[in-house]
Symmetry: C2
């Protein structure tokens, strides 16, 4: 098979698939024709709360943050994503509903975007992809359930330490304020916890 | 096709699948041969924290609660499940690891149990099931992400009202203490919130 124009994006993208399912060159070509490769500068919104969710993003490099602003202006960080992760507002994407979160780049980022209609038709055309996304969502579910368990059962200091151990690369990319809004505390409180 | 022995269990069970994928009678027969139908009295543990997770449960009738005890003896309710829901310790089930939660029946319950090895081999034999479980886990992921968003961005009164509106059947089945441990507050605090 010939080389792809966007090898730099496609190699890690298909590498992510091939952790769980085999893909032929023909299948890769079909998929790659429908992808959008994006080079996004730091501090750019790729999705705005309240807008329609068209795309799920695979992170080739860089880092992103999903956050929600409530009616009082309080900001909550819902998730981070770094190299080799997938991210979107999954409710809005799945139900073609409005976004409850905004997505911003924390660093210059290279992303692969997969549109809603494109993914739906790829799943019909290449049913093998169902297995990949089944595993992806099963793991995402586990991750969220574990986070909720920590949120309910651990104090902030423990949760912070667990996060640092698990995701040192994310800690390096985010501000104290963003980290605090992920843990559900004020930056001042997180600062006290870290100083102990 | 002939009738199944456990029609009372299998009808709703396959009905749940058929919301998302078609199943032939042959496929249903293959699947049903590997299921475990259970009639479980109220207040019974079907999974204990710290034990191996062998089974994912489909709830035909009744109600269940998943909870975690931390080292200080504090109990956190991670999720509830009622009629037509699926429940297990998904981390333990997927990675064949020890359970972080216990699962107890809140009412007399009829359950269909699907073993880990059985599910893995069914997914290989009937790849069409991948689509069903992809959709199931995608929705479970959305549900957990939405709950986390509420946990971070809404106060207890709002979260309680949202839960009552969304799941009146669950509210009817659970104690004030269980509800409080789901919302991450003390029963006394929830009582104050409800009295306002």
């Amino acid at each position: 098979m010939g080389s792809y124009v966007n090898q730099e994006y496609f190699d890690p993208f298909f590498g992510n698939f091939e952790k769980h399912i085999p893909l032929s060159d023909v299948e890769k070509r079909i998929i790659s024709e429908n992808l959008k490769c994006m080079d996004v500068p730091k501090n750019t919104l790729v999705l705005s709360q309240g807008s329609k969710v068209n795309t799920i993003f695979y992170v080739v490099s860089g880092a992103l943050r999903a956050y929600h602003l409530n009616e009082k202006g309080k900001e909550s960080t819902v998730m981070f994503a770094i190299r080799d992760w997938w991210i979107t507002d999954m409710n809005g994407f799945t139900h073609q509903d409005l976004a409850q979160v905004s997505l911003e780049t924390l660093e210059d980022s290279k992303l692969v975007g997969l549109g809603y209609e494109v993914l739906e038709s790829l799943l019909r055309e290449l049913p093998r992809l169902e297995r990949f996304f089944r595993i992806l969502f099963q793991r995402a579910y586990i991750r969220e359930q574990s986070r909720l368990l920590r949120q309910l059962s651990m104090d902030v200091a423990k949760r912070y330490r667990a996060f640092v151990e698990r995701y040192p690369n994310i800690v390096a990319a985010v501000s104290q304020k963003q980290m605090a809004s992920y843990l559900g505390v004020t930056p001042e409180f997180l600062s006290q916890v870290k100083n102990k």
